[in-house]
């Protein structure tokens, strides 16, 4: 038949048909002010198909010229066109995306998909009839927690949905032993009182000595009074009292010493370590910590207590509740004696929260930087029932991107997924005419429990 003639209208950015449209009118084009019009990509496509003849300023455009002239808008670049053309050739129906035509979740909930919101909104590109139509009832409320898909055991499945974080049984309560740490006052005795005690110790020793000569069974030493002198580097112990004469051999005299003056004469130079030693020290400092940093050690006020602590730790070390794991601020998650099934075991160790792609997405919508969706794509076998004026829900929506771009951040992905409503989203990557399509989809790995 005859070629349909069409004219490019640059100021409106559309193509006006000069002769009646052919079969393509079923899925392409729109009416404006009584005239049949085509979008630039549609016109270019039809030109390439040989269905229309394109004119500009009364000159018939070659395909080359048409490419240059029609694809100068931001909304329809060469990449966009290539995706459009690719899909059209495969038989899809491809329309431009219009965000206002996407029902909000609320509207979907109320099943308002069949009613258009645009009774007040007129678009150059599409005009909808305002008469209500029946639409598919299917709607999803996805603002809540996700439905798990796939095979999974009933136990693990509900976990993510039903247990709110603050009621989790695993929240660690500070243990009693930690409470002790807070009592900083029961710390090792400061130096001056230490001195006093040691002085009193020696005098008491003399007293004890006298007593023990009378009561032969009483032990010579009263261990509870032997304090644990603090000789840490932060508490220089330079004053040494005179020792009890009873402890010294005969004819050996002891005396009090103040070693402070000597302390100033030693350790004058910084020890120079070899490279190997320095490396070793670095490595060790990573793993080792000072015994004084151990709160439990600090709480010991005498040797007896310290020895008891070491003994307790030694015993615990080979039993199932080693102190280095269980007497700490952070303990292992699992208490095996508390779980009665494999599913319960998994539950006890699962501490991370699940998140859905649309969580928090609704308040990201006002971002001007947000990615735009380019096309709505309808399947080819929907052609017979397709109505331009009410296309219905697309099969997928498309975002056209380029290969050297970064993949969308999670943020961008949430925004654009929300924008797409309940229609799957596909990214079309163009690389010199070659087009690949990818999708990044929400997923929840099902729980796998073995009995």
């Amino acid at each position: 038949g005859n070629l349909v003639k069409a004219e490019w209208k640059p100021d409106q950015g559309i193509v006006e048909l000069k002769s009646p449209a052919g079969k393509f009118w079923h899925t392409m084009g729109f009416s404006e002010r009584g005239k049949q019009c085509l979008l630039p990509e549609e016109a270019l496509y039809l030109l390439e198909c040989g269905s229309v003849q394109l004119f500009y300023r009364d000159v018939s455009l070659s395909i080359q010229e048409a490419y240059e002239t029609l694809l100068c808008q931001e909304a329809m670049s060469l990449s966009h066109y290539q995706v459009f053309s690719h899909l059209k050739q495969l038989g899809y129906i491809v329309l431009r995306f219009d965000p206002s035509t996407v029902p909000s979740p609320y509207e979907r909930q109320l099943n308002l998909e069949s009613h258009c919101k645009s009774s007040g909104k007129h678009h150059r590109k599409r005009r909808r009839s305002s008469s209500p139509r029946l639409c598919e009832k299917k709607h999803k409320v996805y603002e809540g927690l996700p439905e798990a898909e796939g095979t999974s055991s009933k136990d693990g499945d509900d976990y993510g949905d039903s247990i709110p974080p603050d009621e989790k049984p695993l929240s660690v309560q500070p243990k009693e032993s930690d409470a002790g740490i807070a009592e900083g006052e029961s710390m090792p005795v400061p130096l001056d009182t230490g001195q006093k005690d040691s002085l009193s110790f020696s005098s008491r020793q003399a007293g004890d000595h006298k007593e023990s000569s009378i009561g032969t069974r009483a032990p010579r030493w009263d261990f509870t009074t032997i304090t644990f002198p603090n000789v840490a580097s932060d508490q220089p112990c330079t004053h040494l009292p005179s020792p009890d004469n009873g402890l010294l051999p005969e004819n050996v005299l002891g005396r009090e010493v103040d070693a402070a003056s000597w302390c100033t004469r030693i350790n004058q130079k910084q020890e120079k370590l070899s490279r190997k030693e320095r490396k070793q020290r670095e490595r060790e400092s990573r793993y080792k910590s000072s015994v004084n940093a151990d709160q439990e050690v600090r709480r010991c006020s005498n040797w007896q207590e310290y020895k008891a602590l070491l003994e307790q730790r030694r015993q615990q070390r080979v039993w199932k509740r080693p102190s280095h794991l269980w007497d700490q601020a952070v303990t292992p998650l699992l208490r095996p004696e508390e779980v009665t099934s494999p599913a319960a075991l998994l539950q006890q160790i699962s501490v991370l929260q699940p998140s859905h792609i649309l969580d928090g997405a609704s308040w990201l919508q006002e971002d001007p930087e947000a990615m735009k969706i380019d096309f709505n794509v309808y399947q080819a076998d929907a052609v017979s029932k397709f109505k331009k004026t009410n296309p219905g829900k697309p099969h997928v929506r498309m975002c056209v991107r380029s290969f050297d771009e970064q993949i969308p951040s999670l943020r961008a992905l949430k925004q654009v997924t929300y924008l797409s409503g309940d229609v799957p989203l596909v990214f079309a990557l163009v690389d010199h005419g070659e087009i690949t399509f990818y999708s990044l989809k929400e997923f929840k790995l099902p729980v796998d429990v073995h009995h």
Partner: protein, 454 residues
Amino acid sequence: MAEAVFHPPRRKRRVFESYESPFPVDVGGKDFRLCQAEIINNNVIVRNPEDIEQLYNKGYFGKGILSRSRPVFSISDPVLVAKWRGVNTTLPIITSQKYQRRVQWARSVLQEQGLDDCSITRILENYTKPLGLPFSRGNGAGQAGDSCTRGDPEPGNAEESRKSAGTEGAQSPEGQNGGSEQGGDAALDPESGSRQQEQGDSREMAEGCCHRDPPVLCGCEVKQSPEQRAWEGMDSRECALEYVLVQEEEEGSSCPEDDSTHAQENLVKKEVLVCRKNPFRIFEYLQLSLEEAFFLVYALGCLSIYYGEEPLSIVKLWEVFSEVKPDFKTTYMAYHYFRGKGWVPKVGLKYGTDLLLYRKGPPFYHASYSVIAELVDDNFEGSLRRPLSWMSLSGLNRTTANASKELMLCYLIRPSDMTAEEMSTPECMKRIKVQELIVTRWVSSRERSEQDEF
């Protein structure tokens, strides 16, 4: 918006193992075993053979340093084992050449220790002398256990065995390195559960050799204090002897008086298997990834990790591992999440990702997912460990799909008010959310009817 469809994992066609348990800890806590590991050069190593078995068999934790995954290293030569099928033995069978190499190594070790050549020769000759009768083909009859005596009564021998064992003990870090170079030797088929059995036998045979005399060079200390014994328990097993069967040519099998018709027979030297002690035993250890090790300690409480003599607390480990591997927290959280779902994550290095997820374990199903983990804030943005362009994602997806796996992005969402202090303990995970995404390729030209799945 559609969610990705869960494709059930593909079962492997040939499964050689039976499934024991998802974790080294049982429900109810019966038979609880606390395993021990140590940090050597920033790696977490498990040396005790029973611990190794427990950790690998129940949950597939770790990797044998001389094996593909399950620690199945044995010096036994499968070709020889097949050749000597008739001989009823569980000992490893090696070539004479291989045995001599080990003798050479033992010699150089002793040389390094300053012994003179005469002593070395004497020690080695004594140590490597044949034990029991050599057996040739057709000589079945289960001589293996009998011919190799249980331990050696002479103190001299015990001392020598301890010396060699001591050299092995001292060798262990280098043994690992040497061992890994020898990786080629250990190229056995992985389904050789019997090999472990052999090692177990030889170990049993020579048990208790160590603590008789004060050792000269042995790695294990004979202080006999209970705490030492508990810690050093594994070492005594390491000092156990390994008996091997060496294929050698028997001397004097030719009879000069035979006439010419038997001349050919003279030239054929008879091959026999001689039982000897292995002077240079290589031990295979289990190496745990940092994530696996931390999980065993923090989530299950069934592992203690020592640095030197000190076992480290959970918070300390969290800190230390984060220093060793800057992204440890991120990869660990992903690891913990998937373990908490009952899947087995292994390292994804070969596929350019962080984790591979297996259902039940590598022996049963092919890995289903290849996972990349990223930490983002609650604006869902963050500095990415692996910023991907569409191009690289495309390539990654292709290689993943070629291996019949699906590519998964795992985002760990951290609240913005989480302080560094909060992140300094693993308890921070309670406030972290996980978003999984599957990357799928949409094929535009697929048959119309198939597209419904999308």
